[in-house]
């Protein structure tokens, strides 16, 4: 691979700003040099359209909007519209193939075997079943400070509150999980916990002994966080090497 295209790279934001991620990926100028058959035909189409596009922009009073980051419109939305229209089709398809059932009318004298909300509230419902964790204070003679139910509701508040303050705990400009293995591990344990606590909420249905399930609810997230942390720490070296290489290709050391 030739390195002569690095001379064209401009760091003042006026160029495309695109740098090949590694030496194996051909640069645009290298792709350009495909001279045969359909690839040449394609390239000619591209070039002509690009030139026409550029002419149009120079003639018109088109102004690039200045934003902090990547423009949502139209850059992202163009693709999103295509994807979401597919998703809507998926909703209609699923709705047509799996229609909902209608249970019996409400009856307060018949308690169903399993009382459950919809699946997306299982995590909240599971938090209501954390009674065994409610500390009993010896100062109060072994009685609990608050009822188990109150404790469960407070657990909901704590979980949502923790999620809410994440941006104020984790600052800086790191974006990818590999750059911050710790926070990725926290997130992973949160995801797993939302699943295990949901499993705890349906413990009458789960084919595991309730006590074991209760312990697993807290163990599995910790284990998965540890694994995530270890894996990302290992990957980090390679990623940092790659990022550094890209960085130095953009801004070659003097």
């Amino acid at each position: 691979m030739s390195d002569n295209d690095t001379d064209d790279v401009r760091t003042d934001g006026s160029g495309t700003g695109i740098v090949s991620p590694d030496d194996e990926t051909p640069a645009w100028s290298e792709r350009k040099e495909r001279t045969q058959g359909l690839s040449r035909l394609t390239y000619e189409y591209f070039e002509r359209a690009r030139r026409e596009d550029q002419d149009l922009r120079q003639q018109s009073d088109y102004v690039e909007r200045d934003v902090l980051a990547f423009p949502a419109w139209p850059h992202e939305m163009m693709r999103n519209i295509a994807l979401t229209s597919f998703f809507v089709g998926m909703i209609l398809f699923v709705a047509a193939t799996l229609p909902p059932e209608m249970p019996n009318p409400a009856n307060s004298s018949v308690t169903p075997a399993i009382i459950l909300p919809d699946w997306y509230l299982y995590w909240s419902f599971g938090l209501l079943k954390l009674g065994p964790l409610n500390p009993d204070l010896s100062i109060l003679g072994g009685s609990k400070l608050m009822a188990d139910r109150t404790y469960g509701v407070l657990a909901n508040v704590v979980v949502v509150g923790f999620v809410a303050i994440v941006p104020f705990l984790n600052k800086g400009s790191a974006r990818r999980p590999v750059e911050q293995p710790f926070w990725a591990a926290v997130g992973m344990s949160g995801v797993i916990f939302s699943l295990t606590i949901a499993a705890l909420s349906i413990k009458n249905l789960a084919p595991i002994a309730p006590h074991l399930l209760f312990d697993l609810t807290f163990l599995v997230p910790i284990i998965s966080a540890t694994i995530t942390y270890a894996v990302l720490k290992t990957m980090r070296e390679g990623y940092m090497f790659d990022l550094n290489r890209r960085y130095y290709r953009l801004r070659p050391p003097k």
Binding site: Q36, G37, L38, R40
Partner: protein, 99 residues
Amino acid sequence: MTEDQSAGTEDGSDRRDVVVPLRVYKAVTVFSTLFAVVSVVAGFILVDVATQRASAPASEIDVPVGIAGIACILAGTVVYAFSTRFRTEEMGKSKDDAT
């Protein structure tokens, strides 16, 4: 792929390659695909009709219509397969396009 390749060149493999002008290549691709799609779909419809959507007992299968359907499917396949031997200038074989 070299420039001087002419019709009927057999390079290495026993697959026959016919180089045609771009316009003809497009016509071949479009119409053979169109014909293949239509006849394969029609063939499946015929087979469906003959076997009553694969639910008829063996004695009630409409044999001529069924055979016509299978023939339709085969015809579509053959037409499509035949079209793959035509290439346009400077176009590599689809397998080793990079060379």
